[in-house]
Structure formats: structure tokens, C-alpha cells
Symmetry: C2
DNA sequence: TTGTACGCGTTATCAG
DNA sequence: CTGATAACGCGTACAA
């Protein structure tokens, strides 16, 4: 069933059918109705491939999700889809593997689908700088800071440095001096690095020193690894009083393991997470954490992208304020 | 940059370039190398739209995800993508809103993309029976039981009835007689209904009766609603000793709220969940639950779909065995 | 207001 | 083995 068949059945030309289906004004009411009737009868839909092949401009915004692991991505994705729908754009989602090069994928998608904009969720531009720099289409990275010179790349994120400072300040203010860290791989994403820098800055400000060898354990962003890391940390640094975990997921894994080892949180050990995932409020104890404002991240990201697309605005890099959640997992040291 | 440009630069015809790029054997080694060199130099990729326009058969399997809420969907999606990649198919993902009609969406996608198969994650065929029956392409619903006569619809799921029986049996065996239920909307998905039926069957078998008005509270599948439901349940049925929650998410919401109300789990009240989401093992207490085998669900679903597509096998409806996780949230009543 | 015809980038067929 | 060319389904000048 093609536009040709419809035209034949209507007794008019394909051009006319095309015009009707694309809401062009220059069609008589009579013909329009006839065409629409036949279209409806057959449930006809224009072939997207032919359309795109012709169009060169698809009015599609692609959402590139990298790794389905982070629980925040869900909420972000949902919010973005809801916001795009009422606009005159289509949203399309591609889920990439954790280890793909998202910039290369984006280039391919742009080329193939003539996407007008791309949203990256969970990507890390630091790793693929050259490929990101090569992108010719407005892009925005949500939830990861990243400025790249001379590129079309915007970003919206939580200020990881300041947030980490805040967490560390809180621990210090609550009387903790011996603090261990469960963090990501410092060679990996820049997020880890910035959270670590913030943490260190606060310690330095308070005149505390930090022994990386003794007090830092590298972990993946998973419950399981958080648990393992906690165990290792206790072995290396048995007299610590608090742990700064770089994600809620790690923090929860750690709390569970500490409990199994006989340490109570927060009575024996205080712990603070990062992200503000939903489970945090429902965990026992409720998790102290930095809550990233997911809806704001999504909204602002989309706004910047649209400005970029529609008004040719230059790329922007913006921080979204975070909330500090006190929770119950940190106690005042006497 | 099109195939034409490449051909010109190579000094050969576009047909030859096409042949090289599609791995046809009838090209001389010399030309092949020359073409590949130029292609590599420009990072050239064939235009998918033109390709599909020609092909009519896209070798694409579409994954239709409905509602990003259920945490199981993530793991399913990841697994499916990993399995599809090495095969000669492309995977494409569309995320639908909770309230969309996924069957209509599937029909449109099939028509537009010439998809060879569709995988539904989180859909509920019961709600859109007629639309599902109209699908002309092999489909499989993962994690929701559903037979539809004369359709191309397969399904792979946990045997919700039997699993619920198992949970109820366990509670009864542990000495519980006064059991409350936090469940989904019985008018909604069939899953809720089947879990409820299994639960009731076990109670009946044990000679226990169940007062729906007093002991059943309807809840959405969220932490927040689980918590609210728990509170309501305690008000309606203050002397219960155990709660059967129809999802882990509800169960966790309930435990948190019970704790706030001064009831300890499992000391005062026992609780059992359903699904086997990762956090269950890391919650305090560890959650007793029915663990759905996500990887098996994904694998079997894909297998059935491929059989369907490649060998024209008839639709199948298959159960995947579940695991019972004892956890720590149910205690023996003395 | 409507019809015609070309081109979008590719693949496949058919000569050479 | 390679080159030329006709589709694939649609949008849009341009002509009528």
C-alpha cells in the first residue's frame, strides 16, 4: 500500500495525496475529504524511509542512552519523552552498550536519520573528545559536565565538585575526621574525578589529610561492588568513622555488607551516598545523600537543545542545583 | 557523501562500491581494496533510509518498552540487546508511555520500518486484545502471560499463579494464618489477577479463608504506594502477622513504613515480595521473594521469536521457572 | 487547484 | 568481474 494506490483509489494524483497528508493548504476541501476517507479506510501511513530519504531534515531528536545501569536514566528518559511529545519533534531512543563509543554512534545516527538534535544520557565526552568535537549537530549531554572547545556540545549537570564538598563538609561538621572513600575509577569518567576533588578540597580546608592508599577503594557503580569495596576498606582502614560513597548504589551495598560484618550504620560507621535514587528514602537507615534534580536536568537540557536548534544559540554548560538529603545514615560524633 | 562520490573517487561504478560494501563475492581483490580504502578515508556509511526503502525487509527487531518504571525492564533490555547484536539483526528500542496502546504502536512501527519481529516488554495484551490480534508480524511478550487466539503473539513469563501459591504456602508453613495482601489493581493487568488467584488457592488448600474487604489493599507498583498501602492495611487488619506484597517495590515501601510505625520486620510482621529485583538482596532485612529469571526470560523470548521469524514456527507460550528466595523478612511463628 | 516528473541513495538485474 | 540503469515511496517544483 503506497501513496500511489491511494491516489488511484481516489482518482487523483499522488501529488495531491501527498499534499493532503502533509497538511498543505492548497487542496480543495472536497478532494481533501475524499483522500482522508480512503487513507483512513486502509489505515495508510506514509513510508518513513522514503520520507526521510527525501527530507534531509527529520525533525527527530535522538536520545542516546548509554548503559542501562544507572537508575537515574529511567526517570530522565521518561521526563524527556514527555517533554518532547507535545512539541513538533519526534523522539527516538537508542540504547548503547556500556562500552560503545557514543560519539561515533551519534555521528552515524545523525548521518542516517538526519536528526536535528541529540541528547546524551550517561555518556562521557571526556573519553571520546575527538569524536564529540566532530559532531555537526546540536547535542546536549545530560548529567555529565563537559565543555569541548569549538563543538556543538552543550551540557547540563549537577555541580559534582560543589556537591562533594558539601557532603564532606557535612561529615566533618558531624565530627568525622577518619573518612574512607568508595569511589569510581579515577581513570574513568570525569564525574568520579570531580567528586573526588570536591571531597579532597573540603578535607584540606578543614586541615585534614587524606591517605589515598589507605582510605580509597575503587568500585563499580553496583550494589555488589559497593559491598566488596566496603569490606576491603574496613580491612585497610579499620578505625574509620565515616564513608563517603560516590553513589547511592555503592552506599547501599556498603551498608548491607557492614551490617553483615557486624558494624551498625550509623551507630558504628556513618555513610553518605550520592545521586538521590528513590530507594534511598526507603532504605533502612534512610540514606544521607546528594539528590540530583532529575526533572530539572531533563527540562533544562531540552531547553538548551531547542534554543540551539531553533535559534541557533551557542552551546551552553549549565549546572542544576542539587538538594542535600540528611537521611539517617550519618551520626554526630561526640 | 554518497555512494556516488565514493565511486567517482575510486574511478569505478556505484554498483561496484555497493557490492564491496555488501560483501558480495564477485569483486576483484584489487578493486575491493581500493574501494575500502576510500570508504575508510571518508568514514563513509551507507544511508539506511535508502537501504530500507529498497529492501522492504529491514532485518530489524523492534523492542517496545512500555513504562520505564519496572526495574526488571532494564536488565531484560540489556540482555536482549546483547543477544541480538551478534545475530544478523538490528535491534531498535522504542519507549512508550505507561498509557499508550502498545499494539497500535507496534502496528505502525511494523508498517513503517518493515520490522521482522517485535518484542514487548511490560505490555499487557489483555487490555488491547483486538489490536494485538491484528498484528501481522511475529511478536513475543516477555514477562506477561498471554495467549491470544489466531494471533502471531508468543509469550514468555514466570508462572505467576504457581509462584504466588509457593509464596503463600511458605507463609502458611511458617505458621502464619492472618495474612494481608498489598496487590495491584485487579481490574488492571492479568498478572495481578493470577498472583491473587494463586495466593487464594493456597489459602483455600490450607483451610484458611480470606476477607478481601479487610485484608486486601490496592497499590501501584511503587515504593510510595507500597508504603501507603501498608499503613492502610494495618489500620484495617491490625492483628495480621504477615503480608503478601505483589512486588518487591511494594514490599520495600511497606517495610519502611511499618518500621516508621513501630513494627519490626520480621519480628512483628513478616513480609514477602515478588520479582527478585537486585535491591532485595541488599535491603535490611533481605527480602523474601520470588525471583524471576530475567536472563532466561530474555533468552527464551528471543529464541521463540527467531523460530517464529526464521522457521515460521507457530506462536508459543512458555513458562520460565522461578527461584524462591528465602531472605530474612519472614519469621517462623511459634 | 491539480497533475507530472524528477531526484533522494541504495540494491539488483542485466548486459558487456 | 564491472558498468549502466531501473526500481523503492515520497515531496515538490513546475506546468497545466
Amino acid at each position: 500500500m503506497t501513496i500511489k494506490d491511494i491516489a488511484r483509489e481516489c482518482g487523483c494524483a499522488i501529488g495531491t495525496v501527498s499534499r493532503v497528508l502533509n497538511n498543505h493548504p492548497d487542496v480543495s476541501e472536497k478532494t481533501r475529504e475524499k483522500v482522508l476517507a480512503v487513507v483512513k479506510k486502509h489505515n495508510f501511513i506514509l513510508n518513513t524511509n522514503a520520507k526521510l530519504l527525501k527530507a534531509q531534515d527529520s525533525k527527530t531528536i535522538e536520545v542516546l542512552v548509554k548503559g542501562t545501569s544507572s537508575i537515574l536514566l529511567n526517570s530522565l528518559l521518561e521526563r524527556i519523552q514527555k517533554r518532547i511529545e507535545p512539541l513538533s519533534y519526534n523522539a527516538s531512543v537508542v540504547v548503547l552498550d556500556e562500552y560503545d563509543n557514543e560519539a561515533k554512534a551519534a555521528n552515524r545516527i545523525y548521518y542516517e536519520k538526519k536528526t536535528v538534535g541529540i541528547i546524551f544520557l550517561g555518556g562521557s565526552p571526556e573519553l571520546f573528545k575527538e569524536d564529540f568535537a566532530r559532531l555537526l549537530v546540536p547535542c546536549v549531554v545530560i548529567s555529565n559536565e563537559s565543555q569541548i572547545e569549538d563543538s556543538h556540545l552543550s551540557s547540563v549537570s549537577t555541580d559534582n565538585f560543589t556537591a562533594a564538598c558539601h557532603s564532606a563538609d557535612y561529615l566533618i561538621q558531624m565530627g568525622h575526621k577518619k573518612i574512607g572513600v568508595i569511589g569510581g575509577d579515577l581513570c574513568g569518567s570525569g564525574i568520579t574525578q570531580r567528586r573526588y576533588d570536591g571531597f579532597l578540597a573540603s578535607l584540606a580546608k578543614a586541615g585534614l589529610n587524606f591517605d589515598y592508599e589507605k582510605a580509597y577503594v575503587t568500585s563499580k557503580y553496583s550494589f555488589e561492588d559497593g559491598a566488596k569495596a566496603a569490606q576491603m576498606l574496613m580491612k585497610k582502614y579499620p578505625d574509620l568513622t565515616a564513608i563517603f560513597a560516590m553513589s547511592d548504589v555503592m552506599a547501599i551495598g556498603a551498608i548491607r555488607k557492614l551490617d553483615d560484618l557486624g558494624y551498625k550504620v550509623p551507630e558504628d560507621i556513618s555513610i553518605i551516598g550520592f545521586d538521590g535514587i528513590p530507594i534511598g528514602e526507603y532504605y533502612r537507615p534512610r540514606l544521607a545523600t546528594i539528590k540530583q534534580q532529575v526533572d530539572l536536568l531533563a527540562d533544562e537540557g531540552l531547553n538548551i537543545l531547542l534554543d540551539n536548534i531553533e535559534r541557533n544559540a551557542p552551546p551552553k554548560n549549565k549546572f542544576i542545583p542539587f538538594e542535600f538529603i540528611k537521611g539517617e545514615s550519618v551520626r554526630q560524633l561526640v
